[in-house]
């Protein structure tokens, strides 16, 4: 418990740092560009000078920081042109689609990665090992966007199995036009069941296959590689020999003795995995045309005309920074739970 409290308190300076860094980025813009961070309505948009004066955007850096922090604490991240609303609202509206994708990819990547890593280590230098390593390094080298495009070309254009985007026409009509739809969680898969329309859940899952496959293929190498090497290390330890010597079967030794110990380093890596997934989501959502925060950020940064939508990009960066810091906190706490040496040491 003490460890958890100490570790939780430690993220405060990091979060503050994240906020400071985003603020430092705002300082690279001209005052006119910076004004967009404070504009919340059309009326203000027409009178930028007024906004600059009101929020002291030409004043010294400390004054600006105080102003910016005040806005931030009130939950005002500016008005997003590409999202058509205040940044915070757009973020909240678009996050379920992204969350659905990420939450589906994480367990698949971790479980499959662990399975392949163990398989590879147990059969070291045999065919299975070589194939697993080669496939995972190929996945690691594939550009996410290209993999997504190729998957669409094969499984949608060619075979017609799994469509891109978030939902099919029938689902769209039901959700937005029928009037019987209630947004419980925002996640289509769960809302489909809650609304008593299981076909919507199936449709949503069908649309999730390709993006999830893309994310998993690119990220899995990270887990496989570390799981393999830590498994190899664990297999070389004395307690394995002891377990074998006392007559335990090979599967029992691997599953109960080696794998459990090898899991610990892999767990730390889950933090990195989350960073990779956030990056992957920006590209995957763009390729598959899924209306989540990732595609929104990409559109805001480059796709929406010549002028970037600054509040959107910075708001998104701030959000990912905070999510990543908190995810790392969760991983660390989990880590302490699994490994008593850390909790007590």
């Amino acid at each position: 418990m003490q460890f958890i409290i100490r570790r939780t308190l430690l993220i405060i300076p990091t979060l503050l740092g994240v906020i400071l860094l985003v603020f430092a980025v705002t300082q690279m813009f001209t005052p006119e560009q910076r004004a967009t961070l404070y504009i919340t309505s059309e009326r203000q948009m027409r009178n930028v000078d007024e906004v600059i004066r009101q929020y002291h955007l030409r004043d010294p850096i400390f004054v600006q920081f105080a102003g910016w922090m005040t806005q931030l604490l009130q939950g005002n991240l500016g008005y997003s042109r590409t999202g058509g609303g205040p940044v915070l609202q757009v973020l909240l509206r678009k996050i379920p689609a992204t969350f659905e994708l990420v939450i589906l990819s994480i367990p698949i990547t971790i479980l499959l990665g662990i399975y392949l890593g163990v398989k590879s280590a147990v059969n070291r230098d045999k065919a299975v090992d070589h194939v697993t390593r080669t496939v995972s390094i190929i996945g690691w080298s594939l550009p996410t966007f290209w993999l997504g495009i190729m998957l669409i070309a094969i499984f949608f254009s060619g075979l017609g199995w799994f469509p891109p985007e978030r939902m099919g026409t029938a689902t769209f009509n039901y959700i937005y036009l029928s009037g019987n739809w209630h947004h419980y969680t925002g996640l289509l898969t769960i809302d489909g069941l809650l609304n008593g329309q299981p076909w919507i859940t199936l449709d949503a899952l069908r649309h999730l296959v390709l993006p999830t496959a893309t994310l998993v293929t690119v990220q899995i190498a990270l887990i496989v590689r570390v799981m393999r090497s830590s498994m190899l290390e664990a297999l070389g330890k004395g307690y394995i020999t002891a377990a074998r010597a006392k007559g335990l079967s090979k599967t029992e030794v691997i599953n109960k003795h080696a794998r459990r110990n090898a899991l610990i380093p892999t767990l730390t890596l889950s933090g990195l995995l989350i960073a990779g997934l956030i990056t992957g989501v920006v590209i995957t959502e763009t390729v598959f045309n899924i209306d989540g925060v990732g595609r929104w950020a990409a559109v805001a940064a480059g796709g929406g005309g010549n002028v970037p939508d600054i509040p959107a990009v910075l708001g998104f960066a701030l959000m990912t920074g905070c999510v990543y810091v908190i995810a790392n906190l969760a991983v660390d706490i989990l880590y302490a739970y699994v490994d008593p040496r850390i909790r007590l040491g």
């Binding site: 813009f29 550009p143 966007f145 060619g158 990056t279 920006v282 940064a301």
Partner: protein, 387 residues
């Protein structure tokens, strides 16, 4: 002179031996051979780009030539129509064209050069900053270490691509740099450092004093932002420059941490103690005794990061915030192809060449570096090396 040469030869002898040993190890691993061949292949393409794809506009070789502006991609082997391009010796589009009639073959060949440029420059900048900050943090420890490590924590708290995205859009097209102010700041820094020497302050405190002075100057300058500038030059930044700067700024903290770790490893070795005992300056101890023993593997690992950096740069281009339109760049060529994945029910794969070919280029390029990197990781790992 002769003696100097012999001394030099003796000095680098162990390094050379290690290098030979490493090369021997590489020859024995099949995957690393594949990696080496791929990387060598791309180096050849980059070097001979002007021969393989003679530019139509020699002053501007990185812009892909247009054969008109037709919207529909044309398949490999289509004839060139534009009389000007015909006059430069191009008669056929070897690998077809993407929308806007940009030649795929030309873009891929010159895109190789772009990829190397991005990779090499970003690694060089990030590694240099990493070396400087990493040695400071690792050697001196204490406050400066804590400060730098907390800073790297913050930068590493962002997924790289996201921060790079924000930086690319934040960097201005022309960056006004006040040379006079910069000179003044550097001057004050050195004055303070010499003052520290004069007051017989110990190594790190001299530096801290300088830093303090520098911070005061910068802060007072920023405070009085409205004051007239001293001497301004305007640094023009192209989109590609912005990508380079952004990736380097995002990339250096990773190196700082690795180098710091390596330096911590060798810092307490006997030969370092010995060098300190005979009175070597901090600078000499770091550059002559610590760094040569600490960075060998780091530099190699860093250079093998080129693949990953090119991947991120390509992703930025794909999202439309990288190289300008028409610039020879693989990521951008794929983003052109996005609209042509689905050509219709009868022949869905009609435009396969637009997205397949540039993709194969990026993929194999990155694969080559990763294979090499993977092999090196095993070879350079000191616990596995001599087995």
């Amino acid at each position: 002179m002769r003696y100097r040469l012999r001394e030099f030869k003796a000095g680098i002898r162990p390094t050379l031996d290690e290098l030979k040993f490493t090369l021997k190890k590489i020859r024995k691993s099949p995957l690393s051979i594949v990696g080496t061949v791929i990387v060598a292949f791309y180096i050849t393409i980059a070097v001979f780009a002007p021969v393989l794809a003679p530019p139509t506009d020699p002053r501007n070789p990185y812009s892909i030539f247009h054969d008109g502006y037709g919207p529909t991609p044309r398949p490999p082997g289509s004839p060139v129509n534009d009389p000007f391009i015909l006059s430069t010796g191009w008669t056929v589009h070897f690998l077809g064209t993407v929308e806007g009639q940009l030649d795929i073959y030309y873009g891929c060949i010159w895109g190789t050069r772009t990829a190397f440029r991005i990779g090499v420059i970003v690694v060089a900048i990030a590694l240099t900053i990493g070396l400087l900050t990493g040695s400071l943090a690792g050697y001196y420890g204490g406050t400066i270490d804590e400060f730098l490590m907390r800073f790297t924590d913050i930068v590493l708290a962002f997924p790289g691509l996201i921060l790079a995205m924000a930086l690319v859009i934040a960097l201005p097209r022309t960056w006004p740099i006040d040379l006079g102010f910069l000179g003044l700041a550097i001057m004050i820094f050195f004055v303070l450092v010499f003052l520290g020497r004069f007051l017989k302050l110990q190594g790190i405190w001299t530096f801290m004093l300088g830093l303090l002075g520098l911070a005061t100057v910068v802060l007072s300058y920023v405070w009085a932002l409205g004051t007239p500038p001293i001497y301004i030059i305007k640094l023009g930044l192209t989109n590609l420059d912005k990508v380079l700067i952004a990736l380097a700024l995002v990339g250096w903290p990773g190196y700082t941490r690795v180098i710091r770790g390596e330096i911590l490893r060798v810092r307490n070795e006997d030969y370092v103690e010995a060098a300190k005992a005979v009175g070597c300056s901090d600078f000499r101890v770091i550059t002559k005794h610590i760094l040569p023993n600490a960075i060998y593997s780091v530099v190699i690992m860093a250079s093998l990061d080129i693949g990953a950096i090119v991947l991120t740069a390509a992703a930025l281009s794909f999202l439309g915030i990288g190289a300008p339109v028409g610039y020879a760049d693989w990521g951008q060529m794929i983003s052109f192809a996005r609209n042509w994945i689905w050509a219709g029910i009868e022949n869905p794969w009609q435009y396969w060449y637009t997205f397949t070919i540039p993709g194969v280029f990026i993929f194999t390029f990155v694969l080559g570096w990763n294979l090499l990197g993977d092999a090196f990781r095993d070879i350079l790992d000191p616990t596995l090396r001599r087995r």
